[in-house]
Every structure is written in C-alpha cells, then in structure tokens.
C-alpha cells in the first residue's frame, strides 16, 4: 500500500474523538484552477443587493453588511487571516469554483465550531459565496458598500484572446469603483509579472484609482493587511516555496469627479 493511501486510512480511523473538530482537507476538494467566467454557470445570485439575505452567512449581523470582499478567494487563506484582525467587520470571499467554495464553507464552519476558540470575532465575521464577481458584483453590493477589495493571485489568462477574461480590465474597473467607496482600497498581488504590469496599466489609466505605494499603505495603517495579502493564502505560500516574486499593487478609490 502506498504511503499516501496509508496516511489517508490512518486519518480516517483517527476520527470520532470527542472534542476534536476534523478540519476539511484540500485534497478532497481539488478542482481545476480555471473556470470559464463567461459561461452561464448554474449560479445563484440575488436579483439586487436588497434581496440578499446575509444572515445565512453571518450569525451575528447586527444590521451590518459585508465591507471587505476577496474576489477569487481560493481556499480562504486571506479570510482566515483577516477575520480576527477586523472582528467587527463582515468579510466575504467570492469564488467561482464549486468545490473550492465548499471547502472554504466547511473550513469556516469547522473554525467557528472549535471549542476554546480565542480568535477575535470567532470567525463569525467571515464567509464565502460561490459567485461570478466579474458579472454580478453589483447584484451583491450596493454603491460604495465596500471599503476593501482584494484580487490575490488572479488567473493570468496568458493568451491574448483570453485577456478579456482577466479580472482587471478597463470595463470592469468601473464596476469595482462602483461597489468600492471613495477612500476604499483595492489590493492586488500576483507572481506573474506580465499580469502585474497589465493590472497596473489599467488601474493607472483609470481616473478613479490612485496608486498607493508601500510607504503610504504603512502610514495609513494597512501594513497588517498587506502582510496577510502577501503570506496568508495557499497561492502566496506556494510562490514562496518556489522562490517566486510577488508583485503588489494597491490603489485608493478617489471621489467621483461629478
């Protein structure tokens, strides 16, 4: 019997100990990294933000709505890192892949259920939803609802004919600016230089965004967020293991000129 299979069997036999919450394992949720954002997936999305029932996601709503959105949250690393840093803020991960979304859902539920939990907020302020953020962001969020938007290690869509599928494009920036309030911050990071330059070019050209370099981010108190952006995700860790570069680009949402 191979080592992997033996380990798996041992893991399974080690269950059912009272008081021990079994965390979901990524290998049970693996799915292709690429999903076609232009397909008509059988996605559920609210007709409008007013129709969205956030109580399903956050047990203690207290009249709040999500303020941070992690677009393409993958396995939820950023959510888990940010949740305790901002216990009073509701944070939403958005992911288009079904199995990956399910993993994050199960992970958050398991974290919340842990006995003797000390994380501020108890992970009750983070959640995930299966959604196509490129198409339906305005369905979920009202104008200027968000104060932070994250695009961590987005799919590079290398081929020119796929560039339209890139998560940052001129036409999409208008929608991101719509859901993000003036003064809000967009965080982008990638290990693909070409994609980084593409994103920077588009953001730089877009009149409603202004680049924030690291000094500014640090001075305005976003240092711990930047660190989480760099290191908290599976993708980020993978890049480190492979000694890759990480290109960070953050932007402030400026006030509307009109």
């Amino acid at each position: 019997m191979g080592k992997r299979k033996r380990q798996a069997m041992e893991e399974e036999e080690a269950i059912d100990q009272p008081g021990v919450i079994k965390m979901p394992q990524k290998r049970h949720y693996r799915q292709r990294a690429h999903a076609n954002v232009f397909s008509d997936h059988a996605l559920e999305y609210p007709t409008s933000p007013a129709d969205m029932d956030w109580t399903v996601h956050y047990p203690e709503l207290n009249g709040r709505k999500p303020e941070f959105a992690d677009v393409g949250c993958g396995f939820g690393g950023l959510l888990v890192a940010l949740g305790p840093l901002f216990p009073d803020t509701l944070i939403l991960g958005m992911e288009i892949r079904t199995q990956v979304t399910q993993y994050v859902e199960d992970r958050i539920a398991a974290l919340r259920a842990q006995p003797e939990q000390t994380a501020p907020g108890g992970y009750k302020n983070i959640s995930v939803i299966r959604a196509n953020a490129m198409k339906f962001l305005p369905n979920f969020f009202d104008k200027h609802q968000l104060s932070k938007l994250f695009f961590l290690f987005p799919d590079p869509h290398f081929k020119a004919r796929k560039h339209k599928a890139r998560i940052i494009s001129s036409t999409l920036l208008a929608e991101y600016a719509y859901v993000l309030r003036p003064g809000g911050v967009v965080y982008t990071i990638t290990d693909v230089r070409d994609l980084h330059e593409w994103m920077v070019k588009h953001f730089d050209e877009f009149p409603l965004f202004e680049r924030m370099d690291e000094d500014v981010l640090e001075k305005e108190g976003h240092g711990d967020v930047v660190q989480a952006v760099r290191t908290a995700t599976e993708e980020g860790k993978k890049v480190e293991r492979n000694s890759g570069d990480k290109f960070l680009a953050c932007y402030r949402r400026l006030p509307d000129p009109i």
Binding site: Q25, H41, Q102, M134, P138, K143, Y178, P257
Partner: protein
C-alpha cells in the same frame, strides 16, 4: 431565394429608409417607389441617422464603419473598426457616433474621421474612445435624457439582467443600476411624456417601469398573456448545442419543439400610449398609460398582422411596421392611433417596389436561441442512485456530518 426582410426602419421627411442585409433602401413613403439604394460589401449590422439627417452611419459585417450622405447614399468615409458592432447611434449634438459590440464594450468615434485618418484600404483599425463596457453581452443602450436634450447619462442593458446607468461622457462613473429583472433585458425606452421614467423589457412576461435616476423599480406590466399566443417563431436550433443539452443522458429522441422564447425588441410611446414589439411575434402590442397615475391597471392589447413584426418606427401620427413576409404579402404595414376607439388600427401602407431578394435570412431569429441562459453546472455533491461514493466525496461528507452533529442536540444513541 426569398424576399429579404426590412430591418432598421428610419422615417425622415418624405422618405422611409430601410436596411435589407447589404442593401440600404430609401423609399418615398407616399408612393412606395424606390428613390435610391446602395449595396455594401457585407451585411449591415447597425444603421443610424444623425440629427441633421445629412449623414447615415452604417456598420457592416466586414468591421467597417461607413458614413454615407443621406441624400445620395454615396460613401463619404469608411473606417475599419476593431469589432463588429450591433448597435449604433449618433449623439444629439451630431458630433459623435456611439457603437457597441456584442462583447459588451461601447466606443465613441467622431462623426467624420479627422483629416489625417488613413483612407481605404485601411489596414489598422481606428481606435474609438472606450466609453463603457459590460462583461455580459450588451443588448441595447440609449442616452438620457432623450434627444434633443443634452445627454448626461447612458442607460445600458445586458443579457445578465442588468440595467446600468452611467454618466456620459464619463462612462466609467457608474451612477446606479436598475436591478430587478429576472431575465435578459433587450429593450429600453424613456417616454418623452415622462423623461424621468424608464420602460424596460426582455425575456420576462412583464415590462418594468423605473425611476431610472434613483435606480428604483416602480411597477411591472404583465404582458405574457397577450404576447405569448402571438409569438409564432420558435428559436432556431443551433448547430452546436449548448453544453447542458449535450450532457443530457436521455433515451428519448428530442422530438419536442423548442419552447417559446420572449424577447422584447422595441418599446416606444406616443403621448400616453406605449407600444412594443417582440422578436418573432406577429403583432404590435400596446397599452394606454396615465403618466400621473403610475399604479393604475393597464389593458394590454395587440394589433395583429399576417407575419412576424421585424421592426417598427414612429413617424408623426403614423407607425410604420416591417414584416417578415413573402410575396404576395406586403413587407410594410402602417398603423395609427385612433383616439375615437382608443385603439391602434391599421392604415394603408404604400406597396414598396423593388425589395431585394437573397438567400433566406437565418440570422433574424438567432437571438431567440442565444439570449436564454443554459446553466452547465449540475449539483456536484449529489449522489446518483446506485453509484459508489468516491474517496473525495466520502472525505467531504465526513466533515459535513460532524458539523451537522454538532448543531443537533446529541441523542443517547449517538454517543459512542
């Protein structure tokens, strides 16, 4: 060979302009005689007249943007553009052409190309100024407030049920959305009698009324009962079936007719009468609307024709209607509002001479097949009856079960 259907009707002064595939036709609207015509190299996708009625903007399948002199139909300029556009309009000040391609982006071009633009044969496409874009397929857009006022906003709609209000010319500043439609939106109209309002229609059995600047839905108008019986064209069967259809493991042969698909193609209004048409329906639909009593019930009625309505245009008291009909039926009909009977009635339309012939147009009803969405995902964790659980599924299920157990009070039997 078949007589080509007339799409894009434009009425101006004494003439009626129509497009039939590659042909631009200008008819005398009283006698029906063909005054002038021109034939382009490829099918015309969009056509618009500028406010001065001197310039006709035409976009064809060859990705060419032509500007023709309306009185002679001679080509004054041709520009190559990057993508085929399906929607064209000229701004009320006559200075810009707005074109939108099916990928969802809208570009602005000066009406006349600047002097230094290379003339045909052009190798490099001219870059328009990107005004706004949707990720979804853009279906229609208009400028608000309506002409002749100076536009301050763009109202655009897409296949994913969105109606978006952006600023103009700063199209990158989105003002608000009108959200609530549950199917693709394909027609928009701002009634001149109430320019703060917006009527929308698409695949639903209702039209919607909005206060567009606030993004607020005011009411719906149920039209399905009147409209559905008159939709006579079924969606064409595509050569490449959408993925969901491919995956169906049915033993039955697919003999059943495709279901009817609704697609509102145009909405207009004359004072307090709202008129609208649907792709593949053999009628012009209408209802009277009291713009000061928006909640009042409306009586939706239909003026039927012998053939499907392709397009209609308002021309003073007359409504010109083009029909998808073969001889001996006429391709053009006319209607008018009869105040006495408070109904839309047919009037005489001139018999049009020399409507060109060609291969039957297969593209006319393609939107009926392309607009509806086909979800290609199935529930991924549902066990098919009799199938053994995979390791992955078992692993996921274990975590789920333990979490479920925690939420329920433990019963004596479950304690190990």
């Amino acid at each position: 060979m078949a007589r080509l259907a007339l799409s894009t009707l434009i009425a101006r002064d004494d003439v009626l302009l129509a497009v039939a595939r590659e042909h631009v036709l200008v008819y005398d609207k009283f006698t029906g005689s063909l005054l002038r015509t021109t034939k382009l190299e490829s099918r015309i996708r969009a056509c618009a007249l500028d406010p001065s009625a001197r310039n006709l903007v035409v976009v064809d399948d060859g990705k060419k943007l032509h500007v023709l002199a309306f009185d002679t139909l001679t080509v004054q300029s041709t520009r190559s553009i990057a993508k085929k556009s399906d929607i064209a309009l000229v701004t009320p000040n006559g200075e810009q052409i707005l074109l939108a391609d099916k990928f969802g982006d809208a570009f602005a071009y000066p009406l006349h190309p600047p002097a230094d633009t290379p003339t045909l044969p052009a190798t490099e496409p001219v870059l328009g100024e990107l005004i706004f874009g949707h990720v979804s397929t853009l279906t229609t857009f208009l400028l608000a407030p309506p002409a002749p006022a100076d536009p301050k906003f763009i109202i655009s709609a897409d296949r994913d049920e969105h109606i978006r209000i952006s600023h103009y010319p700063l199209g990158y500043v989105i003002h608000t959305f009108c959200l609530g439609s549950t199917k693709y939106v394909t027609a928009l109209h701002i009634p001149p009698s109430a320019p703060e309002l917006l009527l929308s229609g698409g695949g639903e059995d209702e039209l919607r009324l909005w206060r567009w600047h606030e993004g607020k839905l005011l009411r719906t108008f149920p039209v399905g009962d009147v409209v559905r019986p008159r939709v006579t064209v079924r969606p064409p069967v595509l050569k490449t079936k959408p993925p969901a259809a491919k995956r169906q493991k049915t033993d039955e042969v697919e003999e059943t007719e495709p279901e009817k698909v609704l697609a509102v193609s145009r909405i207009e209004s004359i004072d307090n009468v709202v008129l609208f048409s649907l792709l593949g329906a053999n009628a012009l639909f209408y209802f009277q609307m009291d713009w000061s009593a928006l909640d009042a019930a409306v009586d939706v009625r239909a003026l039927e024709f012998d053939s499907p309505v392709v397009d209609f245009v308002l021309d003073g008291d007359t409504i010109w209607v083009s029909l998808d009909a073969q001889p001996p039926s006429a391709p053009l009909a006319a209607a008018t509002w009869d105040a006495g009977s408070t109904a839309l009635v047919m009037t005489t339309a001139p018999a049009l001479s020399s409507v060109p012939e060609g291969d039957a147009d297969t593209d006319l009803y393609l939107p009926l097949a392309l607009l509806p969405k086909h979800p290609d995902d199935e529930g991924w964790d549902v066990l098919e009856a009799g199938e053994a659980m995979s390791d992955k599924q078992r692993g996921r299920r274990k975590v789920k079960e333990q979490l479920k157990a925690l939420q329920q009070p433990a019963s004596p039997a479950s304690v190990s």
